[in-house]
């Protein structure tokens, strides 16, 4: 059997875990640049706030129902996600981290007399220990487990667990689910299926698998098999080694000048370099790119990209920034209006790996000392306390995050207050 552990309203729950005044009130989270709604509490859904709706269209509703809104605090959500995944491993030996708020787990070979009691205890503990409520759906296949999880959210919220372990329950769950809500079925395929008279997951589970392959694809055929109860999407237990680390963000306002874009690029490069060092890795190459506003019908479009190789694989921020800015110089053209800049570290390997320090031992050990000191100071006093001057000190390019909550779990100055 396969289980899926899914955090309920994950972003909202993270905020609530550290701010008890948010209990039972409508809460929403804004997307990057505070542009649209990306997460809603149940209360917010109830007052009619839609998903992905632009902020200016919910302002009225927010005022009317006293809805609390937050900029997305990915520092907090990311840390809570890794805590939840670590706790999950106390209960399940085989775990596939599927997304920031979902993990698939194997429910075979658990040391328990009763599967429901075991899963219920796990659900309760993960929720309590992390402070973020989770639901668990269990079934023969991943696709059915996702369906079971949907059943929890729709019908068994209080229980938090639903196990599809009989033919009756499988058919019941299939019949209760629209075909577009099946894992792996997109809107486009759902419309096609509707045209062919297939409306529920149950209808889909009855189709012939050869027909599914012939008319759609192998991937789609797998979904049909999985709904029938035949598992064909196994758990992916080994995390594929990270081959690249990337950061791309849109500007708070469009940019044409070189300087603010270079500052933004230096800042994103600093972020990916920090991530690189946390993974105890070095990068052999760096790619950067620019983008104009592809939604605009009038602006000239330009999406240049450049990849450069480092002299030696490194994790040293100043060097990486230097290479990034050099790259920007090559692709920058001042006749365009830019919306975003991105940076990606490539050829990532473990820092103990290979040739790197042989010829540069002296300078390299100095770099390590410096960058460790910088990381230490920034960890204690907050990000960018010590920074490269290339990052600049004005920030009109920066993402709009006007209502960001604190970094409760990762910054000492931001921890909760206790009276």
């Amino acid at each position: 059997m396969i289980g899926i552990i899914d955090c309920n309203n994950f972003y909202v729950s993270c905020e609530r875990a550290f701010d008890p005044s948010l209990k039972n009130v409508p809460v929403i989270i804004y997307s990057n640049n505070d542009g649209a709604v990306i997460a809603r509490s149940e209360e917010a859904k109830a007052v009619g706030i839609g998903m992905a709706v632009p902020m200016h269209r919910v302002k009225q509703l927010m005022k009317q129902h006293n809805v609390k809104g937050f900029s997305s605090n990915y520092t907090l959500y990311g840390d809570m996600s890794s805590r939840i995944k670590s706790i999950t491993r106390n209960f399940f030996a085989a775990v596939e981290d599927y997304s920031i708020d979902e993990s698939f787990v194997s429910c075979d070979n658990l040391k328990c007399a009763n599967l429901f009691d075991y899963v219920k205890d796990a659900q309760d503990s993960i929720s309590r220990w992390s402070g973020v409520p989770v639901s668990i759906g269990v079934a023969e296949t991943k696709t059915l487990a996702k369906l079971a999880n949907r059943m929890v959210k729709k019908q068994f919220r209080e229980k938090g667990v639903y196990i599809i372990d009989t033919e009756e329950k499988r058919i019941g769950a299939l019949k209760a689910t629209d075909v577009h809500a099946v894992w792996g079925i997109g809107r486009r395929i759902a419309t096609k299926l509707n045209d062919k008279g297939i409306f529920t997951a149950y209808d889909l589970s009855l189709v012939d698998t050869d027909w599914a392959k012939a008319n759609f694809s192998v991937v789609f055929q797998r979904t049909v098999y999985e709904l029938k109860g035949v598992s064909c999407i196994p758990l992916e237990l080994k995390q594929p080694g990270k081959q690249f680390i990337a950061s791309q963000k849109s500007f708070g306002q469009f940019q044409t000048e070189f300087k603010p874009m270079a500052e933004a690029l230096a800042t994103y490069t600093t972020r990916v370099a920090e991530k690189l060092r946390r993974q105890k890795c070095v990068a052999g190459g760096i790619a950067i790119w620019l983008g104009t506003n592809n939604f605009s019908k009038t602006d000239k479009q330009y999406f240049p990209k450049i990849h450069t190789v480092c002299d030696i694989p490194t994790d040293y921020t100043p060097y990486l920034i230097k290479r990034a800015i050099e790259g920007l110089n090559v692709i920058y053209d001042k006749s365009y209006i830019y919306k975003r800049v991105g940076v990606m570290l490539t050829d990532i390997r473990h820092k103990s790996d290979g040739t790197l320090n042989l010829f540069y031992e002296q300078s390299r050990s100095k770099e390590i000392t410096i960058i460790n000191k910088v990381d230490h100071i920034n960890r204690l006093n907050g990000r960018d306390t010590v920074r490269s001057s290339a990052q600049g000190f004005e920030d009109d390019w920066r993402m709009k995050q006007e209502n960001l909550s604190q970094f409760y779990t990762t910054r000492l100055s931001d921890i909760i207050e206790i009276k």
């Binding site: 008890p20 005044s21 209990k23 890794s82 805590r83 939840i84 670590s86 706790i87 503990s125 309590r128 220990w129 992390s130 402070g131 409760y408 779990t409 000492l412 921890i415 909760i416 207050e417 206790i418 009276k419």
Partner: protein
């Protein structure tokens, strides 16, 4: 090193990697201590049993002064521990975090006590909006900064 009942140990900063050998490869004699080195002691090992469910909080106010916990102290809170009678717990009351001593008593029911006579005990009945957020396991105090507070 012992002085009466206090032993002194070498401490390490958490996550700092110290090499487990002293001598360098290039030249000279290997240190005779190389074979006897052990991992240094870490404060994390002492204060944190369940890292994933451990959070920090800063104490405000004086409600715990009688058990010598003061404003500015940092509480180490473990959410995975089941609260027991007389534990110092963090609860969410009326939208705020409070540190209280949990009392469960057959006659008096559940009460939350402060360690300061100025604060009245809170009796938990079904109507009180109350839940235990976590159990305090350690408190970190900056004693050096406080040495002027005492009259010794």
């Amino acid at each position: 090193m012992n002085s009466e009942n206090i032993s002194l140990y070498k401490f390490k900063k958490s996550e700092t990697e110290l090499p487990l050998f002293l001598s360098t490869i290039q030249a000279g004699f290997p240190s005779p201590a190389d074979d006897y080195l052990e991992e240094v002691i870490s404060l994390d090992d002492i204060c944190i049993t369940h890292a994933a469910s451990t959070f920090f909080g800063r104490i405000k106010g004086s409600s715990l002064k009688d058990i010598c916990i003061y404003e500015g102290d940092i509480a180490v809170i473990d959410k995975s521990i089941k609260p027991e009678n007389r534990d110092l717990v963090i609860c969410a009351i009326d939208g705020e975090f409070n540190a209280k001593i949990l009392h469960t008593d057959k006659v008096k029911g559940i009460r939350l006590l402060s360690a300061n006579p100025d604060f009245k005990p809170i009796v938990i009945n079904e109507l009180t909006d109350f839940r235990i957020w976590g159990v305090v396991t350690f408190v970190i105090q900056n004693i050096k900064n406080r040495s002027y507070d005492w009259h010794y």
